[in-house]
Symmetry: C2
Subunit: 684 residues, 2 copies
């Protein structure tokens, strides 16, 4: 069907909505929506299948706006197609408590798949969505039941193209031959500093070819709808490679400032808006105008999407009859609930069991539960043998033609690409049928900080398996020994940092990580062996903190995590020789502990007893749980780990010395309140 007046009108409607919304907000980015309206119109109407009345339908085509600052493009589309996003929502663009925030947020706005804006993230999220589709299809599709066959479409701009995370993700997608992934590169030659020639003169398409992508170039991206359509159609035909279409566009198309940085991040001026609307045949006196024929065309396509979902639902019912177990499995996964009884597989330990490194304990959990939790996809950023993330019978997720795995494989080889790994995991989680866990050293989760933040903000159930969690890693030295890392991630909202002290606590960490549907987790795990504690159980562990050793009339409470808990238990004996009684608290996850009742928390860290925290890294934040802190506020050292611990006095004697000072210092304070006993409750 040739393109006509309604198409032009629709494209200009998107443009004027973006102009009006940014003007009303006195803030925002009109340039990208005005430049990308044509390709968005073609893509959404000619290629994408989705049902605005059910944005959660699993086989919908996914769309990711990696250049998320152009979100008015997406909000306009969502409105036009009839998602639950009204014209009033557009009028409240960038206002407090609106569903149209300054950058797209998956959790708050129907039809937004992933949270973007921080550049490059959406690119890598899209790779994750495409991996999830390929994997889910391999697991569930059967002859006659092509249940899962959606595509992932993604827009990105020069900013995303410059970010390392997008390079990592593009290399990964090329390696994985993700033919279900189609990206549109908005080649508008403008970034915030102006012409991209000041910093970005590489040959982007050649780079993508080097990664193994199929590349095309559409030169007249502002107007040539036929060529745009032909290019996307061609990209869909290429099923053994991801595709990128370089689309040369004019940023802010229609504005007097089109093609300049002036239209990137600032609303248009009033007189410019007037001429834009006149140029497009819109009444310059009116705002937020949606012509009836545009609404009709878009609603018609939406209805086709609803019908497609209807068809799919029928197919899925038929599937229930022929593939009962698979049907039940997929239906269950879509609710986010885990298989009944899976938690019974979690390993438990007795104090008499041998000392084991928590990275190995984590491996035992994966080995124990991988069959019971089929949606769990593990992986590592090239540290498989060190992170212990791979169960013995795991199959790699790989293109079958490489001969080293297949699409149904549940183990991902992310390569040395921590940032992309994290953002790919966000995409895997967002798809809705898989739960990703990915490993690296704790110190290198910091490379992924930008994406970890978005796991939390967008409520993704993602598990970071972070081994080698302290100076206890020993010889690799200060470049690899985390000091600031746990403080960093403990300060991140909606994020659980676990540092288990033994096997039961490791199982507890996995229990909480897997059952918390909208909170990501980080598991900080040791390289060195840890004894199994006397007082630990999974039940205690899932409270985030508990009394590991109780004592009557205690002189001091030692609060600790991970590898230092057993050290504190040793220090209890040393203190006893000094005539002092200590109790020990294990606090594997402060965020979960914070959520317990005040009564419970005060039973763990009670009033009247001075408290010393012990953790071999930055003390920052420990003042919340202890009167005094023993930690490491400097970089570590390279050497055998016991030597390193000794150098920094992390020994029973070193703890005892500080515990005695703590007891003495607080002996005359009345009342001596628990550090948890506070004047007021924090907001939220």
């Amino acid at each position: 069907m040739p393109y006509g007046k309604v198409d032009e009108l629709a494209i200009n409607t998107i443009r004027t909505l973006a102009v009006d919304a940014t003007f009303a907000a006195n803030s925002g980015h009109p340039g990208a929506p005005m430049g990308m309206a044509p390709v968005a119109h073609v893509l959404f109407n000619k290629f994408m299948t989705f049902n605005p009345k059910n944005p959660e339908w699993v086989n919908r085509d996914r769309f990711v706006l990696s250049n998320g600052h152009g979100c008015m493009l997406q909000y306009a589309l969502l409105h036009l197609f009839g998602y639950a996003l009204s014209i009033d929502d557009l009028k409240h663009f960038r206002q407090v408590d609106s569903i149209t925030p300054g950058h797209p947020e998956a959790h708050d706005t129907p039809g937004i798949e992933v949270t973007t804006g921080p550049l490059g993230q959406g690119f890598a999220n899209a790779v994750g969505l495409a991996i999830a589709q390929a994997h889910t299809a391999a697991v569930f599709n059967k002859p006659g039941f092509d249940l899962i066959n959606n595509h992932t479409y993604m827009f990105f701009g020069d900013g995303c193209a410059m970010e390392g995370i997008a390079s990592e993700a593009a290399s990964t997608a090329g390696h994985l031959q993700l033919g279900n992934l189609i990206a549109i590169y908005d080649d508008n030659k403008i970034s915030i500093d102006g012409d991209t020639k000041c910093a970005f003169t590489e040959d982007v398409m050649k780079r993508f070819e080097a990664y193994g992508w199929h590349t095309q170039h559409v030169e007249k991206g502002d107007t040539d709808l036929e060529s745009i359509e032909a290019a996307i159609a061609k990209a869909k035909e290429v099923t053994d490679k991801p595709s990128v279409i370089k689309l040369t566009t004019t940023i802010g198309f229609g504005s007097n400032l089109q093609g300049t940085g002036g239209v990137h991040g600032n609303p248009l001026k009033a007189d410019d808006i007037k001429q834009v609307k006149e140029k497009f045949g819109f009444d310059p006196e009116k705002t937020f105008v949606v012509p009836q024929e545009v609404t009709e065309q878009y609603h018609k396509h939406a209805a086709e999407g609803a019908a497609a979902e209807q068809e799919w639902n029928k197919l899925f019912e038929k599937y229930a009859q022929e593939h009962k177990d698979l049907h039940a499995d997929l239906a269950r996964r879509l609710t986010g609930a885990l298989p009944e009884g899976w938690e019974k597989k979690l390993p438990t330990y007795k104090p008499t069991d041998p000392a084991i490194a928590s990275r190995k304990l984590s491996e035992s959990v994966l080995e124990a539960i991988y069959e019971a939790v089929p949606e769990l996809l593990s992986g590592s950023a090239d540290l498989t043998g060190s992170n212990n993330t791979r169960w013995k019978k795991a199959v790699d997720f790989q293109p079958p033609n490489l001969g080293i795995g297949d699409w149904s494989g549940r183990y991902l080889r992310y390569g040395v690409r921590e940032h992309a790994m994290a953002a790919i995991m966000n995409g895997l989680s967002a798809y809705g049928t898989t739960i990703p866990a990915g490993g690296t050293f704790l110190n290198f989760v910091s490379y992924a900080a930008g994406a970890v933040r978005l796991s939390a903000l967008s409520h993704q159930r993602v598990i970071y398996v972070a081994t080698h969690d302290s100076i206890g890693l020993g010889e690799d030295g200060p470049t690899h020994q985390p000091i600031e890392t746990l403080a960093h991630f403990r300060a991140l909202p909606n994020f659980m940092v676990w540092r288990p002290a033994d096997g039961n606590e490791t199982s507890a960490a996995y229990y909480m990580a897997l059952t918390s549907k909208s909170t990501p987790s980080l598991l900080a795990l040791t390289r060195q062996n840890l004894p199994q504690l006397e007082g630990s159980t999974i039940e205690k562990g899932i409270k985030g903190g508990y009394v590991a050793l109780e004592a009557d009339k205690a002189d001091v409470t030692l609060v600790s995590t991970g590898s230092e808990v057993s050290l504190c238990l040793e220090a209890v004996e040393t203190l006893k020789k000094q005539g002092k009684t200590a109790r020990v608290v294990s606090l594997p996850c402060v965020e979960v502990f914070d959520a317990q009742s005040k009564d419970y928390k005060l039973s763990v860290i009670p009033d009247g007893i001075p408290t010393l925290s012990v953790e071999v890294m930055s003390t920052l934040g420990w003042e919340k749980y202890s009167h005094e802190q023993f930690g490491l506020n400097r970089f570590g050292a390279s050497g055998p780990y016991k030597e390193v611990y000794k150098k920094f006095e992390f020994t029973p004697e070193g703890i005892t010395k500080r515990a005695l000072a703590t007891i003495d210092f607080y002996k005359d304070v009345k009342p001596l309140r628990s550090p948890l006993n506070r004047a007021f409750t924090q907001l939220i």
Copy 2:
């Protein structure tokens, strides 16, 4: 001169030293040193000029081992050439307090230029070193005085090649046409997970071509010294592009496990060592053997380097006569001292001066000092207009043929590449003649966390200009509003986090950032306007914390930073209406405040008065400076900033409410100690 027996012997000496050291440490990476010994031998002996007796000579060729886990290669070379690194130091590889830690650390080991190991960092550091050379040459070289003409050589492996930071840096280097940069890509096809075909199948050389690099391939990297030499010679001839030489090598060359992952990160077994030594003609009973003829050859080259420095010193003396001012400037820069009197240029403000955003105050500082501090190189990751990092007359650092700047330019356009920017700045600082400052939004400094950490660990004088520092950025919303970021960087050792409250504090922040020769700084700056405070001066600011408003018989101390200090001053008035007296403390830099005397600190936050901290982000860590905390332990919101502040009760009323609760809660505690009054001093 053709290669002969001594060359082979030297190469095998490096290999056996790596084998012996990793075996003695029972830890480390023999594979890369064994594979890269030939290219290292050729490069260091045939191409590099350096003086082991003076590792600081400014015009030395720079060498960066980006695959830093192979550091025994570098330690062996340093020993053989006669740097202050003895055979005993090699025997203490990876031992506590040795100068041969598990990864190379610039600060501790003579001859190590930059701290590497975290993959990809060294790659980007090398780009920074090359930029610094090009810039320094443009500023100081004159006809007849080719003072600064060194090359930067860098080795990297598959791990570095996969990291996004290296992609960003490679794109930057290509854009900048850095002909003085020569990289050797160790194409050994092995990473920790085994064969790179499991995750890394892109065409690396094609990618570098896309970036604008000159590429070559040497196939027999294990043995073909002539081809290695020819390739490096060719790379030196290419002066308008950075060069990469793909060198196909065998990891762990000589071992029974050569060419496998087994030799990457584990010492060789005893019997394997035996056969390696026999194969190489070494006595298998002896360890750490350095044949006399190898020492002679290497010391001969070292002597040539010492002579070259002698020549250079003569040239520099002559330069002193013909270019007195330039000579004095370069000589001064090499001491790390700033020009005398520069600090007099720092702007000062009176309370009657208008309210100004601290990002603009930062711009005023740069505008005021750029002439006085010629070694200061500013820049931004594509946010120049938002970060306000560019003084009006700034010239861009660009290849002259682009027509938009030149090599002497002092403003760097980093592109949207935060991680590479940070690591390039580490290289710029390490070169010794420039002080880099680079801007992005505070939230996106997190993208650069891996490199920021190394700024701190390796003692680089780097300045992070981090604007849009809170929910105060408003409409861009939660994806851009930092919550956890300051806690993260405050937990990082040897790092100053500044959050100035007004103009005088902003000047104080720059004063400390520029005069702290071995500590990097982050300046958290507002988008919104801030009033000039009554009690602020530069002198008070450089103490890191001071009393902004004193009061007799105060009921409460409000401790705050940045944009919330003036809010606290408003709250004082609101509290007065409730009959309560408050004093206000401004704490622009807790790290610098921590370093003051205990007496001074207790005069600022004294015993006997309850303390409430106020900062619009995570409260984590504020317990150290206050009894109670008012902060934001959730993600922010998109909207006009005053609305967002109001939503979260960051208003005089919101502060007052919490201050009253604080006063009430502590009224019966005796003694009420200052939170700074502690039981024992932290270790280091």
